[in-house]
């Protein structure tokens, strides 16, 4: 049920974001989504790709420090309160969200969010028990043409 997310360290200066993306593109790997967290001094680029093992190799060979993290993709109703409902479930279960970002892909009336939890397995159990749809890699990537 979990997705593999690649993170890499970037210095916060012009032009730094382009290089890793170009490296991935040159390897013919399609980027599913990304999120960039930044401070005044540095940034962390988080990537979801189908061929994460290959992407990781490409990035590491090019000299980046790559971190592999398991994240959870959740299908939410794309209407007011859709996210609030999911958050309520997580909150009442006492689960801590490290960060979250939206998946670029939409499916009809659904939006997909990527969650980073301390404990992804427990989060999946809780989300499923609440009737929320957790999207696994196979399903997620099958939507991408």
């Amino acid at each position: 049920m979990k997705l593999q997310q690649l993170s890499l360290f970037l210095e916060n200066r012009p032009g730094r974001l382009g290089a890793p993306l170009e490296a991935i593109a040159a390897a013919g790997i399609n980027l599913m989504t990304l999120s960039l967290a930044d401070t005044a001094q540095f940034g962390i680029l988080r990537l979801i790709v189908r061929e994460w093992e290959q992407a990781r190799q490409v990035l590491e060979d090019a000299g980046w420090v790559v971190n592999l993290t398991e994240v959870v993709a959740v299908d939410l109703l794309d209407r007011p309160g859709g996210l609030a409902q999911a958050l309520k479930v997580l909150e009442s279960a006492g689960l801590n969200i490290e960060y979250l970002y939206a998946f670029s892909l939409r499916r009809g009336d659904k939006a997909i969010l990527i969650f980073r939890f301390d404990d992804p397995d427990q989060a999946i159990t809780v989300l499923k028990a609440a009737g929320l749809h957790v999207v696994d890699a196979e399903e997620l990537f099958s939507h991408v043409a």
Partner: protein, 444 residues
């Protein structure tokens, strides 16, 4: 009866400066007598020194003439660390009236002690320093060297008082207050680190204080190396003459050597501190005029005699007579060191200290480099550290925490706040052999 502090009849020189003008032969007699005494004292009371002499089959009787000093073993900075805190003291604690400390190479400070006599000698050499810089009774001296464990503040303070000048113990920092005192108190002389004074010049401009219109006529600058370009900059922006002074805590603090009105080399107060130049690689003695490492022996120190202390400062001895009339030999201004020590705002920092801090936090040594810059006259130290897989995280908070821990460890060990930057892997240049760890971009 009032003590005569300043003697007009002596050509305007302070009587304390008399030893500056000793005939060379007389000076050598004084040096030899004092050298024999200090070697005997160290032999008797400092176990480390005694062991080293015995290992060479020597006793203090080996000193028959001044040149015999070359037979004696060197003392190095790590000896102070290894015997921390009081292991090199030659006086019982009951006779020690003062302790100072400065940063060492691994985080442990180096501790130095003074007897009453030592404090008096220190005040004397600092009075001679100020006199050589053209100060006398009636001058108002703003002392912006830091007061505290650092020897600069109290050393200059006692010297200015011994000279009979009025001393204002402002200590370091608080630029607003420095400018207020400078403007309102009729200050004629200022002592501080040269980089701090360049900062003061900038701030005075911003605050609309016209330094050229003030009675300020003498600047006594030390505790860090500075360039001739900096002197030109300082003198062009003020009405003062900028003098270089030299000293180190291990020997006494400031007051080891000073420029005179000629501003052409620093006279070593060699009746108290005997200078030699050695080849830093082989340790062989070099003649006057040759460039090498300065080695100093304290000829009159009681609490902590230093025999042939290796300063790591590279200079040469100028034996030619000086136009000022002083017979004391001079050393050239210190431009570089034989080790990799860097001096930032008067604080000594070794790259090895930075390494120790990085190692402590990360467990392994990452690639790093130190970048020194000067921002409106103040030295800044940045440390760039390459991110390693071990410390990298996808969480911003975790990375910020690593950065904070690294910065804190460096500040704790080096005693200086640094701008710590995490940088991408493989962005710091690798070089064959010894990596260029320090990039010094300080100009003016």
């Amino acid at each position: 009866m009032q003590t005569e502090l300043w003697n007009d009849a002596a050509g305007g020189f302070h009587p304390a400066s008399a030893p500056d003008f000793l005939p060379a032969e007389r000076l050598k007699e004084v040096q030899l007598r004092r050298l024999r005494a200090v070697v005997s004292r160290a032999y008797e009371y400092v176990p480390l020194f005694r062991q080293r002499l015995e290992a060479r089959g020597l006793t203090p009787d080996a000193i028959g003439e001044l040149a015999d000093i070359a037979k004696l073993p060197f003392t190095i900075k790590t000896d102070l660390r290894d015997t921390y805190p009081f292991g090199l003291f030659a006086s019982p604690m009951g006779d020690i009236v003062r302790l100072h400390a400065s940063s060492g190479t691994t985080g442990k400070p180096i501790v130095v002690g003074y007897t009453r006599e030592d404090v008096d000698v220190w005040a004397e050499v600092m009075a001679r320093t100020f006199a050589a810089c053209g100060l006398h009774r009636g001058d108002i001296v703003q002392n912006a060297f830091g007061y505290g464990l650092f020897t600069g503040g109290l050393g200059a303070h006692y010297g200015a008082e011994a000279l009979g000048a009025t001393v204002i113990p402002v200590s370091g920092g608080n630029t607003e207050r420095q400018l207020m005192v400078l403007r309102d108190f009729g200050v004629s002389a200022l002592c501080c680190t040269p980089s701090y004074f360049v900062h003061l010049i900038e701030r005075a401009k911003e605050a609309g204080v016209d330094l050229k219109g003030l009675p300020l006529r003498v600047g006594v600058f030390g505790a860090e190396p500075w360039s001739d370009a900096m002197r030109v900059h300082i003198e062009a922006n003020t009405a003062l003459k900028a003098y270089d002074i030299y000293g180190l805590s291990e020997i006494t603090g400031p007051g080891v050597a000073s420029e005179c009105a000629q501003q052409d080399g620093l006279h070593v107060f060699e009746d108290h501190f005997y200078p030699e130049i050695i080849d830093p690689e082989t340790g062989a003695s070099l003649p006057d005029g040759a460039e090498g490492e300065l080695v100093l022996t304290t000829l009159s120190k009681k609490a902590m005699p230093m025999i042939r202390y290796r300063t790591r400062d590279i200079t040469r001895i100028i034996a030619a007579p000086c136009a000022c009339g002083r017979t004391l030999r001079r050393i050239e201004r210190i431009g570089r060191r034989s080790d990799d020590m860097i001096i930032i705002r008067g604080v000594n920092v070794f790259p090895s200290q930075v390494e120790a801090a990085l190692l402590q936090v990360e467990g392994a040594l990452p690639h790093y480099r130190i970048i020194l810059t000067r921002k409106s006259g103040l030295d800044q130290m940045a440390v760039e550290v390459e991110v390693t897989p071990e410390v990298f995280s996808d969480k911003v908070g975790a990375l910020e925490a690593v950065r904070a821990r690294l910065a804190q460890a460096i500040e704790q060990i080096c005693g200086i706040r640094v701008d710590l930057r995490l940088v991408e892997p493989r962005t710091i240049e690798r070089s064959e052999g010894k990596a260029k760890r320090v990039i010094d971009q300080r100009a003016i």
